[in-house]
């Protein structure tokens, strides 16, 4: 497949960004309704090209590399080439990214209808999609880092889209800064690669991703410490982007952005970039045992930790945000357990069902004008489409068979299970955490679904004293919003079984696993898929069902759902609803108190007294010369000549003293 066909996937949305941002927005404001159509047609082109690319990769030999130009040369073994690397992982991720983006843009036509910055929205979305595609295509780690930061920028712009709201502006900044803290690790990893380039064999380029994946093999020897440090740096970047503990705090706040943004950027694609990065460099990262343990621990801990916070929030989007963090935890854990293919499999299914859930929550918001689930309830009657579609998304998220979420999550649990059988008690703990996560997931998912759609509508009661939110006004969202959700529901139901069936159907068994493992990066050494284990499958299903049952029991006990069932748990509830006080720690203790008050005041005092004190002579002279200048009118110039002469004389004296030959 030619270079232009591949770059076309990236260039089409980029071009639409320029058209919308530089032509329509400044010069054709009355025609801004056309913006989404420009972007959607560009994404249509990208979609066709990316499907063709996937087909070619399936039929091809597992990968190829297309170079364009050299961006920068650090040294002969550290060259930053801009290029595209196509292998099973990138080609399949591209299809997912482009498809979800396409559907979200169609949905946005309805959701963003009437917004005064309609074209700004679509220009940012175009920028995001282009950057995300660039990230997936990158063949060079610095190029990937560049797009990595650019998706971060688009995320910043989109979270802060309604920036006249202080909360949105603050959330945008928070997202950028916290992910950037993780990115410092990524940048240091790149610097360590430069360091490695000085003693590596000259025939590899330490920035070229296929070359990185050979580091640590017998051909390219690296010290264990250096490898651990590099991989940990990369993991730190991935943790920031994929909102893993302790960097997770930005993602719930990112819900301040428009809901389609949350669906595309903050659940389906950008936050999964961390997992993509770990998958992209998997052959390299998996060389370091320490790093793999860290990844597994971080992922498993986050999976449970985020789910617990999801139990108590009343904002439907924040429930989904915590759910995203938790599900990303599963993917990260899978990578750490050696389950590269299961992680990517879950990334794909999650992209579809979580995008569906977010779009559903947007649809609910479109109808009710709120994200607060305490104001909802009973929406199944008025919004049958959204109700059904979100139901599908919920079941997929909980992971009940035969929906997509079940198959991918099952593979992760299975990987953990196999590890546990052959490994230490560490893996048992991972398995327990992942299992507990399933119960929690089922609980919060049920709670969200129950509070939103079941029972009676509570908005009427809440608003009785005000002039009212009449339930009769609530209606199903327009077709332009429902249709993309219907399309997303199809993969949310079927893709799990069909791309990775447990037995040969039409598609060979474990097709996705085998396909991903056929990448050239694995040099044929990739391990094969684990056999389907019916006991693990039944076990994980039971955990999911038990979570729902607990949820039903709780909601039965408390007739009025707006009273939080977990509130009776006192301090635990306090802890959870305060997000474990991490925001307080980060923002109040570290930033406000330590950085802005203490550190800044120390440097300020230093500046004022010590530094200006060192130049106290200067300060003194400033006063007096100002005085002299006042007296002598043209004193500045005189003083100036005076100092120069003084300097000259001083120089000559030093010279004479210093060089005997000259002093004579």
């Amino acid at each position: 497949m030619g270079g232009l066909n591949i770059w076309g996937i990236f260039l089409a949305p980029l071009l639409s960004f320029f058209i919308i941002a530089l032509v329509i927005r400044p010069f054709a404001k009355p025609y801004q309704w056309i913006s989404p159509y420009i972007l959607i047609s560009a994404l249509g082109v990208s979609f066709i090209l990316s499907v063709k690319l996937l087909a070619d990769t399936v039929l091809g030999d597992g990968g190829n590399y297309i170079s364009t130009y050299t961006w920068l040369v650090i040294n002969e073994s550290a060259v930053i080439d801009i290029g595209a690397f196509i292998d099973p992982l990138s080609s399949i991720t591209l299809v997912v990214v482009v498809l979800v983006s396409l559907l979200v843009q169609i949905y946005s036509i309805g959701y963003m209808h009437g917004d005064k910055s309609y074209s700004r929205y679509f220009s940012f979305m175009a920028l995001f999609t282009a950057s995300m595609i660039g990230l997936v295509l990158s063949s060079n780690i610095v190029q990937l880092y560049a797009f990595w930061e650019l998706v971060g920028l688009s995320s910043y712009l989109l979270i802060g889209f309604w920036n006249e709201r202080p909360a949105a502006a603050a959330a945008a900044k928070k997202a950028f800064i916290i992910t950037r803290i993780g990115d410092v690790g990524f940048l240091i990893a790149i610097l360590l690669l430069v360091k490695f380039s000085f003693n590596s064999s000259p025939n590899i380029n330490v920035f070229h991703i296929p070359d990185i994946c050979t580091i640590g093999t017998p051909g390219v020897i690296i010290s264990g410490t250096l490898m651990t440090l590099i991989t940990l740096g990369i993991v730190s970047g991935a943790m920031g982007k994929s909102a893993q503990f302790p960097f997770h705090t930005w993602l719930p706040d990112a819900m301040e952005g428009p809901t389609p943004v949350s669906a595309l950027v903050h659940s389906a694609t950008m936050v999964a970039a961390g997992v993509f990065l770990l998958g992209r460099l998997y052959p390299f990262i998996s060389n370091s045992q320490t790093t793999m343990l860290v990844i597994a621990a971080v992922g498993a801990f986050t999976a449970v930790f985020a789910a617990t916070m999801g139990l108590v929030v009343n904002d439907i989007k924040r429930v989904l945000a915590y759910s995203s963090i938790s599900q990303l935890g599963y993917m990260v854990a899978a990578i750490g357990l050696g389950g590269f293919a299961p992680a990517i499999f879950h990334l794909i299914t999650h992209a579809f069902f979580k995008a569906l859930l977010f779009l559903g929550s947007g649809s609910v918001n479109h109808a009710t004008g709120t994200f607060d689930m305490r104001q909802m309830g009973g929406l199944r009657k008025v919004m049958p489409w959204t109700y059904t579609l979100m139901g599908i998304g919920c079941i997929s998220l909980i992971g009940l068979p035969p929906l997509s979420g079940f198959w991918s999550k099952d593979e992760i649990i299975l990987t953990a299970w196999e590890k546990m059988l052959h490994g230490s008690s560490f893996y048992l703990m991972i398995l327990i955490a992942l299992g507990a996560g399933i119960i929690l997931t089922a609980f919060y998912t049920w709670r969200m679904f129950n509070m939103t759609f079941l029972g009676d509508n509570r908005a009427a009661f809440e608003d009785k004293n005000n002039d009212g939110h009449d339930t009769s006004q609530i209606h199903e969202s327009p077709a332009v919003m429902v249709a993309p959700m219907v399309v997303l529901a199809i993969p949310a139901i079927f893709i799990g079984f069909f791309v990775n069936p447990m037995i040969d159907v039409i598609i060979p068994a474990h097709w996705l696993n085998e396909f991903l493992m056929s990448s050239v990066l694995f040099h044929g050494s990739g391990h094969h898929a684990l056999e389907f284990n019916i006991f693990v499958a039944i076990g994980s299903t039971c955990l999911g069902i038990s979570g729902i049952v607990i949820g039903i029991m709780y909601s039965k006990k408390t007739k009025n759902v707006s009273v939080e069932p977990l509130e009776k748990m006192g301090p635990v509830y306090e802890l959870l609803s305060n997000k474990y006080y991490l925001d307080t720690l980060y923002e109040d203790v570290i930033v406000k108190n330590l950085l802005q008050k203490r550190l800044v005041s120390i440097t300020a005092i230093f500046d004022k007294y010590i530094v200006d004190g060192i130049s106290g002579v200067v300060g003194f002279t400033v006063k007096n010369i100002g005085y002299v200048a006042g007296l002598a009118q043209n004193g500045n110039i005189q003083f100036y000549t005076f100092v120069i002469t003084l300097g000259g004389v001083a120089g000559l004296i030093i010279l004479l003293v210093y060089t005997p030959g000259l002093g004579g």
């Binding site: 961006w71 650090i74 940048l187 790149i190 000085f198 440097t603 300020a604 200067v618 000259g648 010279l655």
Partner: protein, 499 residues
């Protein structure tokens, strides 16, 4: 190689010629602006031309577009009028002339003593161009000192706030630095055998062949030059003149000050300290990098608490110039390339930021961050430009600041891993102060002070657009600049066995 004697001198002297004509002929204020704009535009176009045709393959030590004239010829001292450019100075000449145009447009609303103002601005332009092109140490020094007077006049005459204090502080700090430089120059001259002020001659014999001083003697000269340039750059703890001068200077002076004048310090360090005294640079690299790291972090932390927009950008400049020092101290090709690239990119980025602040100040009459807010609605064009400038300043990839940063970091990391990691932390702080500033002045609700402001005019949009093109263009295709820099930088390193 295309050569056209006198062209470089024309670029240097054209502003002063215009200034003299303005001084002699009585011209209306309105026409003065147009004439000065025309002069600076011609200057910039000529500078662009010599940048484009610059021979990137020329050997090291070779200077292009040279003009040479015997100037002072006494038995004690021989000095030439000798100008020329190489890969290090060509970008600086281009930067100076482009920011010269920006400064003129930023001065459009100057109402008082217009003629005098523009005369000083033009003299300033010549002085700075002279510094970047001089190939004779005494000539270099003359230009270096010449730049003081117009800048002092601009701050004290057309500034705001504590302008007398600030301009005097600027003057004294710089004169102090100048005195050190003069000592360095004289010692170099008298100890060189044969006595010479010719930089090209000294360069071709660098490494101590010409300067008969021994290691410690040369170290003393090195220190003199270093102090002089460090004050200009500025390096912590000699930076305190900078925030004051910036804050109280008129917009155009701030643009020149941050955009090109600080770069004279970095340029001097590379041209003289690194090139003439490589042994000392290697020997003291640890201290240089340490000072750089302190400047980066200290500047960034100070930036966080600023509430005056200009002061904020001034402190961020301290932080960014720290990177130049780290690159220089690394004594590696990527570090030095990064440092010299940072000189150029920081010039364009800060130039853009000050231009935007100038427009905001012009229309809202305040630079105080708490009084601003919601500018995205009121001034979309300025807000977008300001955001892109801010993002470039925090090192966003695809914008030029990132290229310089990654070059400096990868150059310094080999020998100074811990200090480099510390300075990398600066990028978090940079993200913090830039985004916080954007949040406070561009986002949020519209504050009373900006209730009635309008967006930038077409005239004001032109320099913004030029700088944006430079920032984005170099971010995407850095070779445009790096090819030129390499002509001067790579040989410095290979000659002295660095990496």
């Amino acid at each position: 190689m295309i050569d056209f004697p006198g062209l470089l001198s024309l670029i240097i002297w054209l502003p002063v010629i215009a200034a003299i004509l303005l001084f002699i002929f009585p011209i209306k204020d309105q026409n003065i602006r147009l004439i000065v704009l025309a002069v600076t535009v011609i200057d910039a176009l000529l500078a662009l031309m010599i940048f484009v045709v610059f021979d990137r393959q020329a050997p090291f030590g070779s200077f292009q577009w040279t003009d040479k004239l015997m100037w002072i010829d006494t038995s004690l001292l021989q000095s030439q009028y000798y100008v020329g450019i190489d890969g290090l100075s060509a970008p600086m000449v281009l930067l100076t002339s482009i920011l010269g145009v920006c400064a003129v447009i930023a001065s459009w609303n100057i109402k008082t003593r217009v003629r005098e103002y523009f005369i000083w601005l033009l003299i300033l332009q010549t002085a700075i161009l002279g510094v970047f092109t001089s190939l004779d140490l005494l000539l270099f020094f003359v230009f270096w000192e010449l730049e003081l007077i117009p800048m002092f006049m601009l701050i004290s005459g057309w500034g705001s706030g504590r302008k007398d204090y600030s301009s005097m502080k600027f003057l004294i700090f710089t004169i102090l630095g100048g005195a050190f430089i003069l000592v360095g120059i004289l010692m170099t001259f008298f100890t060189a055998d044969p006595h010479t002020l010719d930089i090209t001659l000294l360069l071709s014999n660098a490494g101590g062949n010409l300067i008969q001083l021994g290691f410690y003697g040369a170290s003393f000269v090195y220190l003199c030059f270093f102090l002089g340039f460090a004050i200009k750059l500025p390096v912590w703890p000699l930076h305190t003149w900078l925030p004051d001068a910036h804050t109280d200077a008129p917009t155009a002076a701030s643009i020149i000050l941050a955009g090109v004048m600080l770069k004279m310090g970095g340029y001097g360090l590379i041209r003289i300290n690194v090139s003439l005294f490589p042994l000392q640079t290697v020997a003291y690299s640890y201290a240089i990098v340490l000072l750089g790291v302190i400047s980066v972090l200290y500047g960034a932390i100070m930036t966080l608490k600023q509430t005056d927009l200009k002061r904020l950008i001034a402190y961020s400049s301290v932080s960014h110039m720290g990177l130049v020092l780290i690159g220089i101290g690394s004594f590696s090709s990527s570090g030095l390339t990064g440092a010299s690239m940072q000189l150029f990119t920081h010039g364009t980025i800060t130039g853009l930021l000050f231009l935007c602040v100038g427009i905001i100040y012009d229309k809202s009459h305040t630079r105080s961050i708490p009084e601003l807010g919601g500018l995205f609605v009121k001034m979309p064009l300025v807000a977008v430009a300001f955001t892109i400038g801010g993002l470039a300043s925090l090192g966003l990839p695809a914008l030029s600041g990132f290229v310089a940063e990654i070059l400096v970091f990868s150059g310094a990391f080999i020998n100074f891993p811990v200090m480099t990691v510390l300075s990398v932390l600066g990028i978090i702080l940079a993200a913090g102060y830039i985004l916080w500033m954007i949040e406070r002045i561009l986002f949020g609700s519209i504050k009373p002070a900006v209730q009635y402001v309008s967006d930038a005019s077409i005239l004001e949009a032109i320099p913004i657009a030029i700088l944006l093109v430079l920032i984005v263009g170099l971010g995407i295709y850095p070779s445009l600049l790096i090819d030129v820099l390499d002509q001067a930088i790579l040989p410095i390193i290979t000659n002295f066995g660095g990496n």
